[in-house]
Amino acid sequence: MAKQQGESGDRDLVVIVGCGRLGALLAGRLSQAGRRVVVIDRREEAFNLLPAEFSGFRVTGDAVEHEVLRAADLAKAGCLIAVTQKDTLNLMVAQVARLVFAVPRVLARVYDPRKEVFYQRFGIETVSPTELTADALVEAVGLG
C-alpha cells in the first residue's frame, strides 16, 4: 500500500489515524521498515494493540480536531493513512490532511463502496475492504 521509499527525506513521516487491528499492524510494519510513524487514536487503550516492533509516537485525541493533527506533526508527513472504523471520519481527515496540511499522499479506508467511488473525485486514494474481500471471495470460488 503506502510504500514511498523514494520520498524526500524531509517528509518521511507517516501518520496513521486509528489504532485498531489494521492501524496497529500497519504501524508495526512501517516502523520495522524504518519509517518514522505517528499513530493517533481517541482511546489510550487502543495503543495496547501496537506490536513490539513499533518504535514511533502515539497521540491521544480525536483526529477531527486540527489541534490533534498538529500535535501529530502532520505538516511534516509525507503520507497519511486513515483507518478508523468510521468511513466519514477517514474521509474528512484525509481531506483536511490534503488541504490544510498539504500532505502529498493520503489514503483512507472506506467500507461503503458507493462512498469509495464518490470520493475518488476529491483526489483521495481509497481502499475498500468490502470490495477487496468480495473480489477475493469471487476469485476463491472460481467465478472471477
Binding site: V64, V96, L99, R114
Partner: protein
Amino acid sequence: MRILMVGQGELAYYLARRLSARKHRVTVVIADHHEASALAQRLNVNTIAGDGTDMQVLDNGGARRADAVLALTPHDEDNLAICQMAKGMFGVPRTLALVNDPDNEEIFHQLQVSVAISATRILSTIFQEEAVFEQIAEIMALAEGKVAVSEVHLDAQSPALDRPLQDLDLPRDALIGGIIRQGHVIVPCGSTRLLAGDRLILIATAESLEAAMARLAGAQR
C-alpha cells in the same frame, strides 16, 4: 422549499417545527428509530430512520429534489460527508453544516458546504462582546468572522440620538442596514435620525465594530 434535514434531538425538532410552519416541505433523517417515529407523530413532517451519511438513505429522503440539505448531527465528519454527497451526488444547491471545531469552518467552505455554522464560535464571540457591550448581539458572521452582522439596541444614553446619520461619523467599514422601530423596519438614508429604543442592524468588519459601537452606544458599557 424542499428541505432535507439530518439531525437529532431538540435542535432537529424545533427547527423542523419552525420550517414546516413556514410552509417548507421538511423531511428529517434521524438515526434512532424511536425518535424518528416520535417526531413524525409530534409534527407534520416526513421522517426517515437511518444513517444520514448513507447515500441510499439521502436518496430515500428525497435528496434529488431537495432545495437545501441541513446537516445537524453532533459529528463534524458526518456533517461534511452529508453535505458533500448532497451536492456532489444529488446536485442539492444549498448545503448547511453544523461545525463543532471552529477550525473546521473554513475547510468546510472549501469542500462544498454553502454555509458552515460553528455554535462554539458564535457563542464565544457573543460572550466576548457581551463583556464590552451589553447592547449588542451578533446575528451572523460572514467571511469567516471578518464581517459581523449585529443587532444594536439604542437606549436614551446613546450619543447617536436625534442627529442625522450622515453626521455620526461612523467608520467607513460600518453600515447601518436597517432600523427596527416599533415593529417596523426602516431602511435608513443620510438624513434619517435615530431615536432611543431603536434597534439597528449593523454590518461591520471586525476591526471597525468597536469604533462603530462607540459612536452608537457610547464609549463603553
